[in-house]
Amino acid sequence: MKLTLHIWRQKDANDKGILETHIADDVSEDMSFLEMLDVLNEDLILQDKEPVTFDHDCREGICGTCSLTINGRPHGHEKATTTCQLHMRKFTDGEEIFIEPFRAKAFPVIKDLVVDRSPFERIMQAGGFISIHTGAAQDANALPISKINAELAMDAAACIGCGACVAACPNGAAMLFVSAKVSQFALLPQGQPERQKRALAMVNKMDAEGFGACTNHYECEASCPKEVSVRFIAKLNREFLGASLFEH
């Protein structure tokens, strides 16, 4: 099939950026979206033009490196799918596609479609862990955990840290990301000793990094490739409130 691609080009964080149009002839429906861009890039290199820079790595939907806003939606229109797992058979011949970076105040563009998601790193460093040093653990089965809580914790832990939730949110909020990590640990006995401290530290860091506030649009859940539920945001709110009230 033949597609018209409007692709965001931006030299660096200071550049204004522009949409550049390319025609992709001969796109096979078996290609993934990123393979379609690979083919375009190979052509651009041979024409002595700079290829389109985009983030990607595992190409099996788990590492969270790939991003892209496709026709206005982070990771495109396919439900529960990362960009790397989106295939061209989901598009139609002759279609126009708009390809942009993840758009959020806290994620400045580095180049073209690549953004800086390091605020997520700093939120994790502020409290996204259980303080256990190597070697200090007791026997793994000494601590039974109800299957329900273990499964719920796993639902939260499925987050791949891609940042689509932030890009989809009209406020550029990182609540789904933060709530997933806070909930995972709050649901487990291992996470209890630092439960309050963690919720406060991660939320405070999130605010300091320039993410917006949550006003319940649920766009984050709709765009999440791992279908992390907004129920975790409700849980985060409870955790944060409780921690604020009892903060020493």
């Binding site: 099996e60 295939h87 790193e121 190597t134 653990a137 793994a140």
Partner: protein, 637 residues
């Protein structure tokens, strides 16, 4: 050169304890005076960096990704083995040790593998304490499954995302230490070279992938945890950026590369669909529990699968290996699939695919049960291929998946360069000629959490090195070489992209050092590679600038190293004149087409020493001594 493995004396069971007691320690108050560089922050590197920092060392960690959480360890699906024996089904440290030695076709060190089995139990404890949400039973205790043909259920798992959850555990431990200021984390920085001063590893040179800046970093010891070289095949299940560069730079500076021909080809991947293909996707091996593998009896039978009657189908694994059937080990299943495709009986657009059929299982167990067991995998398959596996058989084909070979290390995980340690898939140490399912995660974490934190102290305690400073001529020289190489890429201005060279090389490696190897093919490959390399340096096209985020430069650097590395794979495969594990030399097989080991001549590790580009490297041997297990023939008939 004599390869000293440094395996402690005494009974197998006591070696690691005795060694831990005999190794030197560093006083807690003095640890902060030492710095350690960790390159790669996947399971092995992330675990090591966090553990070092907890002990008090100053750590500098590097990844080319934008976060340590992106490392390819994250893609592992199935699980992690541990000799916990929670299921009371007869597992033990000894059994896990024996299964791993046997699975590796008796080509690994007894002492290393025994230690791996010993610390496997600590790993599960550690991960649970970090909040890794492993699967549990209704009583709240940990669940296990049997995996990869093991006869005990010793595999711990977190849905189909075990690698992700274990990596996120290590990543959270690392994040904690970064936040505490004990780890200086460098994201988006790729190691370009390693710096030796007076023969000792003292630092690295990196390129900042966001702005092209070349920098040097110094430390008292270096750990490479940079993964495997499976992308030498171009198409593999590895992530796009996985490469051999860090290990290969070390090799060119004098570290020996061990057993490079041991590469694992995984039988259940989605076949190639066209020239645009950038990677191959693994479908969990668990599918073989219920799926039946077949091809048409007749060559070139183009009928849709549901129109091929039962008596015109060849269930080749069930036919050849009646007792293990569709669950035969990875190497055997992969080779059999290639055989039937080479005969012209393959399916899929390229003719290189076989059916994995669930019709019988759906008939026997009902669609609901199959959906419960494999629903997410079927969904993933449909997303990629557009076919619905409930109504038409899947198509699968083997693909490069894991590399058992790697930099040679001693019992302390140190390479032949003093101070340079190698962890995880990047070293060669524990899997012999074939790795068992759910053992890669185990080894990565064993090295990172429970081996290197002890053994590195022993190295550091030998005496504090004088600070050299990154202005030292050796650092400046290495920086200069890196810059010159990048400028060379940019100045060639030829007509072929780095990817086109990678694809050409990958096909050659796949055809000749893939599932079956023979002398003629290997010699042909050794003749062809220099020509491809010559064209690369003559006709390469790299666009853009070096002072910029430039993924074409990154790719060119990695392909340049693969172009040299592929030769040692071929030499290793050529000179190992036996078949063992994943290494199948067609000249060495039984009458039934099974692998034929030659224990008398090849019960050793082959470790290669660099002798210049294009020259044959020098082959060294480390004899493997088996004091505790009897060498046996693997049989799955």
């Amino acid at each position: 050169m004599r390869l000293e493995s440094g395996i402690p004396s005494g009974p197998l069971k006591d070696k690691w304890d005795k060694h831990r007691f005999e190794m030197k320690l560093i006083n807690p108050a003095n640890k902060r005076k030492y710095s350690i560089i960790v390159v790669g922050t996947g399971l092995a590197g992330g675990a090591a960096a966090a553990s070092f920092a907890e002990l008090g060392y100053n750590v500098k960690a590097f990844t080319y990704n934008d976060s340590p959480r992106r490392a390819h360890s994250i893609s592992a699906q199935g699980g992690i083995n541990s000799a916990k024996n929670y299921q009371n089904d007869g597992d033990s440290i000894w059994r896990l040790f024996y299964d791993t030695i046997k699975g590796g076709d008796f080509r690994s060190r007894e002492a290393n593998v025994y230690r791996l089995a010993q610390v496997s139990t600590n790993i599960i404890d550690q991960c649970v304490a970090q909040g890794v949400p492993f699967a549990r039973d209704y009583g709240g205790l940990l669940a296990n499954r049997s995996f990869g043909g093991a006869q005990v259920a010793r595999t711990f798992y977190a849905r189909g995302q075990t690698g992700q959850q274990l990596l996120l555990g290590a990543y959270s431990a690392l994040s904690r230490m970064i936040g505490a200021g004990k780890v200086e984390m460098h994201n988006r920085k790729e190691m370009m070279d390693i710096v030796l001063i007076d023969g000792v590893a003292r630092g690295i040179v990196t390129r900042d992938l966001t702005n092209g800046k070349i920098e040097s970093f110094e430390a008292d010891a270096i750990c490479l945890a940079t993964g495997g070289y499976g992308n030498v095949f171009f198409l593999s299940t590895n992530a796009q950026a996985c490469n051999v560069t860090a290990a290969f730079r070390a090799y060119k500076k004098g570290a020996l590369f061990a057993n490079p021909c041991y590469t694992q080809i995984h039988p259940t991947c989605i076949p190639v669909s066209g020239d645009h293909q950038s990677k191959l996707t693994l479908m969990s091996e668990s599918l073989r529990n219920d799926g039946r593998i077949w091809v048409p009896m007749k060559k070139g039978d183009n009928r849709p699968p549901n129109q091929i009657p039962e008596n015109e189908r060849d269930y080749f694994l069930e036919r050849k290996y009646p007792s293990f059937g569709n669950l035969s080990p990875r190497d055997i299943s992969s080779r059999s699939a290639q055989e039937v495709c080479d005969e012209g009986r393959g399916v899929s657009v390229t003719g290189y695919g076989v059916y994995l059929d669930f019709e019988d299982a759906i008939g026997r167990l009902g669609k609901e049960t199959i959906e419960e067991r494999y629903g997410n995998l079927f969904e993933m398959y449909e997303r990629i291929t557009g076919d619905d596996p409930y109504s038409t058989p899947m198509q699968i084909y083997p693909a490069s998946h894991y590399t058992m070979g790697g930099l040679w290390v001693d019992y302390n995980l140190m390479s032949t360069i003093p101070g340079l340690h190698v962890l995880g898939e990047a070293n060669f140490s524990d899997h012999g000629a074939n790795r068992l399912g759910a053992s890669a995660l185990m080894q990565g974490l064993a090295d990172g959490y429970f081996v290197i934190p002890y053994t590195i102290a022993n190295y550091l305690a030998q005496g504090k090195l004088d600070k050299a400073g990154t202005d030292h001529p050796e650092f400046k020289k290495a920086e200069q070489e890196v810059k010159e190489k990048i400028n060379k890429f940019l100045s060639i201005n030829g007509k072929r992209t780095p990817t086109s060279f990678h694809r050409e090389l990958g096909q050659l490696v796949w055809d000749n050092v893939g599932m079956g190897r023979n002398e003629a093919g290997l010699r042909k490959m050794l003749e062809k590679i220099p020509a491809i390399r010559e064209e690369f340096w003559d006709n390469l096209k790299v666009t853009g600038r070096s002072e910029d985020m430039n993924m074409v430069i990154e790719k060119a650097g990695r392909v340049a190293d693969f172009l040299e590395f592929a030769e040692i794979m071929a030499w290793d495969a050529l000179e190992r004149e036996e078949s063992c594990g994943a290494h199948f030399r067609e000249e060495h097989q039984t009458e039934d087409g099974e692998a034929l080991r030659d224990d008398e001549k090849f019960s050793h590790v082959a470790a290669w020493e660099y002798k210049g580009v294009g020259n044959k490297p020098l082959r060294h041997r480390e004899e493997l001594e088996f004091e505790n297990v009897k060498l046996a023939v693997r049989s799955y008939k």
